[in-house]
Symmetry: C2
Subunit: 316 residues, 2 copies
């Protein structure tokens, strides 16, 4: 589940209104997935939507890519909690002008992701309407060998890591990314993950969510951030710094995690992810907000609210 | 989950593509809810969407009513399976022109239904876009004392009942209906329900779904159908027969059930629903399709595909 900029207030409002019973609902609104109990079984749920013109543009994406992305976004939430996808349901608001073949391609994309991540599509709902394509997915997941990893457990002194390389997903990766479901479970098996989140809104913003939920601050070392080749290509075009893209572009769908210094040393030594990079990018500190520490030691705030320049555009 | 007219082909296509493991997924696409297993626990899932201009019109419905309806539609699927709602997630595609207060009213409506039916809203996703209001809900449910009641168990000789009174929900009931969650569980406790469905597409169409899934036909006795006062009011306006509305109008969200003749006699004698009407409307027969039997004994097909005249308009 993601929160677009400027609508965090609504999520907070829903949290306050929803109240709830923490025994039946161990994790309510505001994390990557909610957790509810059915008898002894913990069930995790996430829901996400892709809206034409906001999350994709049909001039630049095939319906099959959009279907894949819709499912992959929710699977990435499973990765963020290090839980195991069980099943998915999806619904589609289909523009009336689109032929049946379009709906089939879209569904084929949903099924591509469903098969690849062993998360069967078990139900859905398709409705025609006069507006743009809207597609919503809900994934149900189960816990693996560890409790779900939340956003709120980062502690001062923790070390921050990210998987993969960041920025520039707009150039195409946002349609074909690999949700880090297996990687998350390997990380959770290898270390005591204090907090984790998937990078949907951009590193600066998503680290800001972790800080706020955990009641801490964070420092990112500018030279440590793994900048993707796409971020460099995009920077060549638009004149911004590649690091700007790596910090602020949305939809990387990589993982950001916080672990103790001891576990950090071990993860650094034994990267359990094989060919997927796992990079130490900074640390958790007392206080609040996200601070970028440049190579020369200069410091500046980078969380979305503090550093407007980093606000990128969506990957349309 | 519902299937709009003309898109059943897509659901069939998804079913064929999805394949699946019937031990892990006891109920896949095509029923009111899917059922998946997490360890020993059966988890039921349904997803539904409401789209502006198709399912509601903001000139005639408040955002709070739309929020209530969004949740109630999925709760009605829980009723159709006679299962117990556990939790819901929702997502909203919010027109950019709408103020924060609009989103709060919409959410207040979701929470109205959540509280009334003890189904907490545990997560969600809100995104602004340039098109109309779209809202999707997913409800997770658990089995009660009985297995989930499916669409596919009707047998020749069974008796058909409906709850409530049918037709004319367009006049307002479609925004404020009461999902028959408690009634369904009382019915399941009182009788061996062979098949059940909630009436979202209209009695003729939904009975057609039950017939097709069960491999049977059905006869409806015209004089037995409980016609609502709204259906009569609408008929006064548009010159159609009240019975037409009762058979073909969508969004009654009442229950249609099939039970053995013995159970039917008992249900007729001991209506377990108190003030909610439970009316015997016909029977299940060998063959296929839905036939209307008039008081004079004349017969005609009424399933949507067979009797175009009954195609009503959506409740916009």
């Amino acid at each position: 589940m993601t929160e677009p900029k400027g609508e965090w207030a609504l999520i907070d409002w829903i949290r306050r209104q929803a109240g709830g019973d923490s025994a039946a609902v161990p994790i309510g609104p505001g994390d990557d997935m909610a957790c509810v109990r059915i008898g002894p079984t913990e069930c995790l749920l996430t829901t996400d939507s892709l809206l034409e013109g906001t999350h994709f543009n049909l001039d630049r994406a095939t319906p099959r890519q959009v279907g894949y992305k819709a499912m992959a976004v929710s699977l990435s939430d499973c990765a963020a909690m290090a839980v195991e996808p069980v099943a998915a349901v999806a619904w589609v608001g289909l523009p009336e002008s689109r032929p049946m073949a379009f709906a089939e391609d879209l569904t084929a994309g949903l099924l591509d992701a469903a098969k690849r991540f062993a998360c069967p599509l078990v139900g859905g709902d398709v409705t025609s309407w006069e507006a743009g394509l809207a597609i919503g997915t809900t994934v149900l997941a189960r816990t693996g060998g560890t409790p779900p990893i939340r956003r709120n457990g980062a502690r001062p002194g923790d070390v921050l890591f990210v998987t993969g390389r960041l920025g520039g997903s707009l150039l195409g990766r946002h349609l074909a990314f690999e949700p880090r479901v297996a990687e998350a479970r390997r990380l959770a098996a290898a270390a005591d993950l204090h907090a984790m989140i998937d990078l949907s809104d951009g590193l600066a913003t998503d680290l800001g969510h972790v800080c706020r939920e955990s009641g801490v601050g964070a420092e990112i070392e500018a030279v440590a951030v793994p900048v993707s080749a796409d971020a460099r290509r995009l920077a060549d075009r638009d004149g911004r710094f590649p690091l700007d893209h790596a910090l602020s572009d949305g939809e990387d769908f990589e993982l950001l995690l916080a672990v103790s210094a001891g576990d950090a040393e071990r993860l650094g030594r034994e990267n359990p992810l094989g060919s997927v990079p796992l990079t130490r990018i900074g640390r958790v500190v007392e206080g609040q907000g996200v601070t970028l520490v440049e190579a020369d030691g200069s410091r500046r705030p980078v969380e979305a609210a503090g550093y407007e320049h980093f606000r990128g555009e969506g990957p349309v």
